[in-house]
Amino acid sequence: MKQFDEAALDRAASAQQSLLSAFLAALGAITAIPQSASAQTAFTLPAPPFDLPMLPSPSGNWTVMVGIGGEYTPDFVGSKNGKFRPIPIFSIRRAGSIDQFRGPRDSASIALLDVGYFRAGPAFKYVSSRKSDKYSELTGLGDVKAAYELGGFVEYYPVDWLRLRSELRQGVGGHTGTVADVSADVIVPLIQRLTISAGPRFTWKSTKATAPYFGVDATQALASGLPMYDARGGAHSVGFGSQISYRINPQWEVHAYVEYERLLGDAAGSPLVKLRGSSNQTTIGLGASYSFDFRIR
């Protein structure tokens, strides 16, 4: 064990000193890291003419992230065809604020309870409408309006590299059922700049969340040529997801992900899926972002 000048520490806390010594010795394996560049901001804005009550002053450094991504995703849940759509990337936050690990399937959420390894709070997901005239497979099945799923999430990290997350949401609009998502992600930093993560996913949906998308009533059967089908709730899908992110330098970051989902139960058994679609659903995404700082006086 290498030497450590303990005289500088509180002599009264010898046990703690040896702890610190051991810790520093452990850090002996650390390779020298080049000193990062000094703080540089792209521009400085003047202070706003007024502050909003209850909100902290905006003075200080802010980080803006802009980028572009794309996602290849099934045309609709159960479809065997997919489409590629661009996704803009934009965020603004106080400089130094940390981007929490986020899975591609996570709903938008706010951690109202945050004790480090355990987080919980409200969650929201927007499910876009399904227009029957957009895809030939849906002809005669009618439209399903956009749905708004509101609920909550809990997230637990038994260790830094393992995230367990669960969401429970209630739909309004296009469907009025209940949806539960459970996922686990092993998050492995290969080096400081390169992180990969992967893990299983499972989704359960109630009958009211399943029927609008996978059921076929008598009218729809006549119009579509599909047999009538009473879609009930239960295990909806099981899958696996993985993502990789690489910070090229402090400004540029690239990421990619793949999410595979196999429909189960009545969703997989629907004639829409069996006869015209596929129970294998794959989403692939990638993106690049650039971050810069600016300052408000």
Binding site: L9, S57, R163
Partner: protein, 246 residues
């Protein structure tokens, strides 16, 4: 009908803008009116030792006493020097441990709704009373990676599959508390000194290299922590409009 709606919306927008302007005036005026201040610092008694990244199950943070480093005394001295140009800074006495013991609630809305815990402590624990304002410097918290928080002064070993990295941090926040009403006039966490590192914390931090190992490493560590505070304090006080920009 539509014209009425537009008028109402315009009225609401004007009201919000005026209220906001009034609020700014209040904050600015309150800072302008301050002549005498006392400085409280309670961040430097303990250093946290954290292992993060690829760690074993049950790994918990530990801490070591660094009270002999005299960090809080140094911070009070430096803040006094920085603020003396604008305010008359008077020495104050306080129970440092009481200030260091206060933690934010884990439930975010509680922190928004409850009264700031430092208000009461300044009222009951700081002497002399009657100054225009008290500058209170205490530990701040930041996320490190995904599932771990770090706070105050600390040393982090971040383990990845292929390499280990070291990081020191000095996370603190500054409050300006009115000496009469004990309202928090302004509160600000010290920002990172740069945003160029790949391992980020929401406050002053820097990489640890091999010079921290070997003889006199404790003194080097202290010097590095002092450097973080020395470089970040003027920026923070300037962001709070307590002193001219550096």
């Amino acid at each position: 009908m539509r014209r009425h709606a537009v008028l109402w919306i315009a009225l609401a927008v004007a009201s919000v803008a005026l209220s906001a302007a009034a609020a700014f005036e209040t904050r600015a005026n309150r800072l302008q009116a301050i002549k005498t201040v006392g400085i409280v610092s309670a961040i430097g008694e303990e250093m946290s030792l954290t292992q993060a990244g690829l760690t074993a199950l049950g790994n918990t943070g530990q801490s070591a006493s660094i009270s002999a480093w005299g960090l809080d005394e140094m911070i009070v001295q430096q803040a006094t020097k920085l603020l003396s140009g604008r305010f008359r800074v008077q020495p104050v006495s306080y129970r440092r441990a009481a200030f260091a013991a206060i933690r934010d609630s884990a439930v975010a809305p509680v922190n928004l709704l409850r009264s700031d815990p430092f208000k009461e402590l300044v009222r009951s624990d700081v002497a002399p009373q009657g100054l225009d304002a008290y500058i209170v410097i205490t530990r701040a918290r930041s996320k490190l990676g995904s599932g771990r928080d770090v706070e105050g002064i600390g040393l982090v070993q971040y383990r990845t599959l292929l390499a280990d990295y070291g990081l020191i941090h000095a996370l603190y926040e500054v409050r300006v508390i009115d000496g009469k009403s004990f309202d928090v006039i302004e509160k600000r966490a010290a920002a990172p000194l740069d945003n160029t590192g790949t391992m980020r914390l929401a406050g002053p931090s820097g990489p640890v290299d091999e010079t921290f190992d070997g003889p006199a490493s404790g003194e080097r560590l202290r010097t590095a922590i002092v450097d973080l505070v020395t470089r970040s304090l003027p920026v923070t006080l300037s962001d709070m409009h307590l002193m001219e920009s550096q």
